[in-house]
């Protein structure tokens, strides 16, 4: 502006200044307006963004799987998302304005969580509209206004049925595996297989929560129809237990198994609801009250050898794969244990077989350690030697083997010898001190080249030894008895034959008498031997006739009188009844009396008397022969009538004695239905009574 007048200048300057101020203000306003416009635009933009976000959020909440509810401060539902409504079986509209507590099951309500000012978490059992309970997990938080005052509560609700199911299954699997661990430990090491199996089945049964669990195993080498060895566990007191214990419908079960066999052989596991089974199978299990089942095959060396069956009365019992896998592990463990068990059983059986063989052997079998202790003795050994198992443990070999002074400890050494010996003869001593003759052989058992035991098998040959001894005694006795008269015969005939006695007729006569007498004695001995043999063979013949006893007695006395006189023994006769009659054989009766009298004479002291008496007693005739000799020792009386027995082995005989006389006399008496008894009540000497069946006197008949 180029104006130069001062007044004018002053006025226009003022206007210019005002204008300038106005311009400045306008500019400022314009700026303010522009700023306001910008802010407004920004606000509008924010609003649009917010609205979009809200729409998206609402959409998300509506479509999310988790339930979301918003309740006001009074607990009334002001918002519920479709998922929540669906989870609980309601429509969204039904729930708006309702109490949120409507969901919670009255039965169970579990609260978890903390300070109400913070978000809190709860596990709750909710109910659907139709009353089905199910577990949920809730996370709740309060919504506040700008003044930090609570306006509403937002709750997120999660259906945790599946999670709980999985957790439960995992717990179940863990328990099954624990049971399997126990199974492995017990079954593969324990002696009592059945008990271990039952314990493990109980664990498995409890872990799986079934009503019945059983294992069915077939014996090796038998066709697999169904389990021949069934071990089981059932929930105590259940219906299934009752039926199972009673073994009801077992044929049905066999049939059921037949239906499943092929699938089991193929290694399949069968499980599920009974209601889904084919008719027949369903009927069978229905009858047992079973609603759900699982069958796991048991393999031994890739052969189906059994199965594990789990049954439950609950229709909804689900068989989770983790559970089935754990059961398969259990089945594998059972399979391994069956193998071990059967191997053990085989060993036990074969051990039992051998033990049985050893125990039932009649031979004495022993196993002795190098220090002389008995490692094993069989039953025959114990019975023969009279020792108990406990006593055997305390015994040493030398307590049992009789040491012969001449052999020192050779027998013991032989029995302990590691070289293996052929026939060994030894004398064993029983607990009571009796001697048993044994013959046997031994051989040794070596471990790492060192002898650990010497086994011996011995046969009791005591009887054989006794027979041998008797035979020897018999031969010795008979030989002596034959040679004694022969000595006199040969010597007397030899002297006669030499002609040296020809000048002495009296001596010659004497020698002839010696030969004759001894020839008769020899004949008598031979007759005795033959009679003994005939009696033993039952070939002795007897006449069955009426005989008058007294005449026979007198004849016999006459026959033996010269023998008695030679030994200076007097014979006396005591007859109560002259007419005594008996049934029998005249010659045999005479033979009996002759034997008895001959013994009595031989054993009487010179100058003494032998008495023979006859009497009738009811239906028998009794002839008694008594002497005053040394009598019969008590310990010999039992063997008195045995052949070739003489109580004094040094053979104190005055005129022969084969040891056959009494044996033959008894045989003859018995052959005529009579008997001979030794009178045990006689204090001095010996008295024998011959009893024969009496008959009426011949004259009376």
């Amino acid at each position: 502006m180029g104006i130069t007048q001062p007044s004018k200048l002053i006025g226009s300057r003022k206007i210019r200044l005002d204008l300038e101020a106005t311009e400045r203000k306008l500019r400022d306003k314009t700026l303010e307006l522009e700023q306001a416009q910008e802010e407004l635009a920004a606000q509008a933009e924010d609003k649009i963004r917010l609205e979009t976000r809200l729409r998206l959020l609402e959409k998300a909440v509506d479509t999310v799987n988790m339930g979301v509810t918003i309740t006001d401060l009074q607990g009334k539902i002001i918002y519920v998302n479709p998922a929540d409504a669906r989870m609980h079986g309601y429509a969204v509209e039904e729930l708006i304005g309702q109490e949120a507590r409507l969901y919670a099951s009255k039965a169970v309500r579990t609260e978890t969580g903390g300070d109400p000012a913070e978000p809190w978490v709860r596990r709750r059992i909710d109910s659907t509209k139709d009353g089905q309970p199910f577990p949920v997990r809730l996370i709740s938080d309060r919504v506040h206004n700008t003044h930090l005052q609570p306006m509403a509560t937002v709750t997120i609700c999660e259906d945790i049925r599946e999670q709980e199911h999985i957790r439960e299954a995992l717990v179940r699997r863990d328990n099954i595996l624990k049971a399997v661990g126990l199974a492995a430990e017990r079954l593969l090491t324990d002696a009592s297989w059945e008990e271990s199996v039952e314990e493990v089945l109980e664990r498995l049964g409890r872990a799986t929560g079934v009503d019945l669990i059983y294992m069915s195993v077939v014996k090796e080498d038998s066709p697999f129809t169904t389990g021949s060895a069934i071990l089981s566990w059932t929930t105590p007191g259940g219906d299934v237990e009752e039926r199972f214990r009673q073994g009801l419908g077992l044929p049905d079960r066999i049939e059921l198994f037949a239906c499943w066999k092929d699938r089991l052989v193929a290694g399949q596991t069968l499980q599920g609801r009974v209601s889904e089974l084919p008719d027949r199978e369903r009927d069978i299990l229905d009858a047992w009250g079973v609603r759900s089942f699982a069958v796991v095959p048991i393999f031994v060396e890739s052969n189906l050898r059994g199965y594990l069956s789990l049954e439950d009365g609950d229709d909804d019992r689900e068989w989770l794969s983790v559970e089935i896998e754990a059961l398969k592990t259990a089945a594998r463990t059972f399979g391994a244990s069956i193998m071990t068990w059967q191997a053990k059983l085989k060993i036990a059986l074969s051990e039992e077989k051998y033990r049985d063989l050893l125990d039932n052997a009649t031979d004495l079998i022993q196993s002795v350690s190098p220090d002389g202790r008995f490692q094993y003795v069989n039953r025959a050994w114990k019975e023969t030697l009279g020792y108990s198992d406990q006593e055997v443990q305390q015994l040493k070999l030398w307590d049992v083997v009789r040491q012969q002074p001449s052999e020192e400890d050779d027998v013991v050494q032989s029995i302990l010898s590691v070289d293996g010996q052929g026939p060994i003869e030894a004398i064993f001593v029983t607990r009571d001190g009796a001697e048993i003759f044994v013959e046997g052989s031994i051989n040794s058992r070596f471990v790492d080249g060192l002898p650990v035991a010497t086994r011996g098998i011995f046969r009791d040959i005591t009887d054989r030894k006794l027979v041998d001894r008797m035979k020897q005694e018999f031969i010795s006795t008979v030989s002596h008895e034959l040679r004694t008269p022969l000595t006199s015969i040969i010597a007397s005939l030899g002297l006669l034959d030499s002609g040296r006695m020809s000048g002495d007729p009296e001596r010659m006569q004497e020698l002839v008498a010696v030969a004759l007498r001894n020839s008769n004695r020899l004949l008598q001995l031979i007759n005795n031997l033959l009679d003994q043999q005939k009696l033993e063979d039952g070939k002795m013949t007897f006449k069955d006739e009426h005989v008058e006893i007294v005449p026979i007695v007198r004849e016999t006395l006459d026959d033996i009188r010269s023998f008695a006189e030679m030994l200076n023994i007097e014979l006396s006769l005591d007859v109560a009844d002259e007419n005594l009659c008996a049934r029998g054989d005249h010659d045999r009766i005479s033979q009996i009396l002759s034997n008895l009298l001959s013994n009595a004479i031989k054993f009487s002291p010179p100058g003494d008397a032998v008495t023979i008496s006859c009497r009738g007693e009811r239906n028998r005739v009794v002839i008694s022969v008594s002497d005053n000799g040394p009598g019969i020792p008590l310990d010999f009386q039992g063997r008195l009538f045995e052949k070739f027995t003489q109580f004094d082995a040094s053979a104190t005989r005055r005129s022969g004695g084969s040891g056959l006389g009494l044996s033959i006399a008894r045989g003859l008496a018995e052959g005529m239905h009579g008997r001979i008894v030794l009178d045990e009540e006689v204090a001095r000497g010996a008295t024998f009574h011959v009893e024969l069946p009496s008959t009426l006197p011949i004259a009376a008949e």
Partner: protein, 159 residues
């Protein structure tokens, strides 16, 4: 072969065997004469024939006894050079009598021969173990009995 030793040796280097014979050069004394025999036998017939054989044929002086106890009683007085003893007799039997005779000073050194019919191997071994110098078997030949007794007698004194 008491008193005479035969040794069989093997030479280890040459592997040849050699025999070494050593004979005991004992002073050769004349044996005492056998004259008195005590004959113990419970069988009277045998006693009789044996006595005839020993006395009439052998020319010995014979004292016959019918039992062991009789023998023990009469032996010290009779003083036999040799005793012939039966085995099977009324107590004391032959072995018991032998044992008793050997304990009596008069007969402790007197040789005893058993005359018996019990002559199984183990029995004969037993008699010799008891101290009998020999055994004469029954039945015996009466004509050679004396010779047999003399033979035993000589062998006993000059083995």
């Amino acid at each position: 072969m008491a008193g005479k030793d035969v040794i069989l040796e093997r030479d280890k280097t040459s592997n040849r065997a050699s025999f070494a014979v050593s004979i005991d050069e004992r002073a050769h004394q004349a044996p005492p004469k056998l004259t008195r025999i005590l004959f113990v036998e419970d069988e009277r017939d045998i006693q009789m024939v044996a006595r005839l054989a020993l006395e009439d044929i052998g020319g010995f002086t014979v004292e016959a006894c019918s039992s062991g106890s009789e023998a023990l009683e009469r032996a010290p007085c009779f003083g036999p050079d040799l005793i012939l003893l039966d085995v099977m007799m009324p107590a004391p039997d032959g072995p018991a009598t032998l044992s008793a005779l050997s304990e009596m000073p008069a007969t402790a050194q007197t040789p005893v021969v058993f005359v018996t019919a019990k002559v199984q191997n183990h029995e004969v071994a037993h008699y010799l173990e008891l101290g009998a110098i020999d055994v004469i078997v029954k039945p015996f030949d009466p004509m050679t009995l004396a010779d047999r007794v003399l033979e035993i007698w000589h062998r006993h004194h000059d083995p």
